[in-house]
Amino acid sequence: MNRIDRTFEELGRKGEKALVGFVTAGDPDIPTSLNIVTSMCNAGLDILELGVPFSDPTADGPVIQRSSARALEKGINVGDVLSMTGKLRKETAVPIILFSYYNPIHAYGNERFYKDAVDVGADGVLLVDLPPEESAEMTRAWPGSDLALIRLIAPTTPLDRMRKIATDARGFIYLVSKTGVTGSSGLKTESIDRQVDSLRSVTSLPICVGFGISTTEDVTAVSSIADGIVIGSAFERMIEDNLDDKNLAAILADQVRKYKEATLKN
């Protein structure tokens, strides 16, 4: 059993929900970034989404745009993120999902990416601009099935398309909480509730909800509906606000503990 499935099984046994955290790799640099995510994993993060920066992040709001830009200024590329993943894997058993846009992966080479990602201990990949209709081009080039391609469902996805997307989904389903980019405001738990219900009718995979979840109240509310919650911009904002703080990693670890605690409040 792979690390993602095992994580959800264990969480299920304990009656807990998954806290999934997104962090851009290499922001502000690789050693700091590695230090941040290591302490976040040690503080109780259940799944890590490690962002591979892209020059044109069209699904992202200003906070993650800026974090990608900072990483790109340092020249961070796919190879750097993979070697960072390898180092992190030596420190933690937390599932690692490489999160990006298709172009950097395509440029690295689909087969080469699969081999190197599996080799360094990554568990999945999530590409926000690669729709299911087009993803076979990538997965066909994969020589094995040790990497889960995480699928996204939008708030506008109709039921028949949900069914189609869920058919070959693995690991978990990432439900986008609302129409908008990452980090935008206006979370509506009622509509998430409806979406999760529809989605449960077509899949037995765990459902994690992300986009625009930032407060511990949001976390508690969404945790009562879904199997996991994804936090990205809120972590990134905290990194940005404390870039020069020597305790950056500890600050993020504290926040992980607060969020994790909030998932248990229901």
């Binding site: 069209t58 298709y102 950097p104 395509h106």
Partner: protein, 336 residues
Amino acid sequence: MSNHFKGASIYLKREDLAHTGAHKINNTLGQALLAHRMGKEKLIAETGAGQHGVATATVAALFGMECRIFMGEEDIRRQAANVKRMKLLGAEVIKVVSGTSTLKDAMNEALRYWVGAVSDTFYVIGSVAGPHPYPVMVRNFQKVIGEETREQILEFTGKLPDMLVACVGGGSNAMGLFYPFINDSVEMVGVEAAGSGIKSGKHAATLSEGSVGILHGSKSYVLQDENGQIMPAHSISAGLDYPGVGPEHSLLKDLERVRYVSIDDRQALDAFQMLCALEGIIPALESSHAVAWAAKYASTRPGSEVVLVNLSGRGDKDLGIFISHLNGVRDHESNR
């Protein structure tokens, strides 16, 4: 112009005479009708040179729809006349300051805005680029250019042209001209912007110099580095200043059905002036790229051949750029 170059007969397809001054209105009318039918009350669009922005603002005014145009800061500066036109038509022009502050970034920002406003807003993409179904839909709305060209040239000359020439940024005017001739034995040339010259690295010659990648929801040729990061494009013409290109152009390149060449800033400015002087027509700087290549080519061909150029837009918007460039050259020369 034909007499001047003493070569092939040159014909201009006068899209510059279309309402709002460019071919862009063909597409915005079609998409606004679709938006209307879908019950969307608001339109958004990205624009580079501002022609697509003006065309979108115009149809929004026609249908009584709200309109927001995303435009890079750099383009707002160099295409100020079109910004004023959009505002006059009642559109809100949103300044985009991310990335290179040009067309690519305007499209990024429009996409970001749209995902948050999709319930009541229709995104009118201006080129044969972006996610499906835009490349196909925009081509279908623009193919009227080629259909009219066929009808008119047959009327004038009794035969199909030997060659079609059009400029290519995202590629909508070129695709509109080419598409109805795809199965005919007519040569086709798409002219990209070589900017300061291909060797300078400051250009927008995506098909000539780019590699296969994924940008704005389609797989096509793009200007990118070895890590798959999109590179900034450069052209004096804001409408061609885009590091991607419509995916069907990439296919036509790979099939060797269309030849893609490039013309630099200097050559485009010369053609801009040349067409003014010879025909009293001010071409858009975008279209000037096509005029420049066609003039050069036609001069080497016999008078029996017909070269048809898509004059995709008028150039009043570019007078400021032309004059400041002329002054710049003069200043440079007087400093020597």
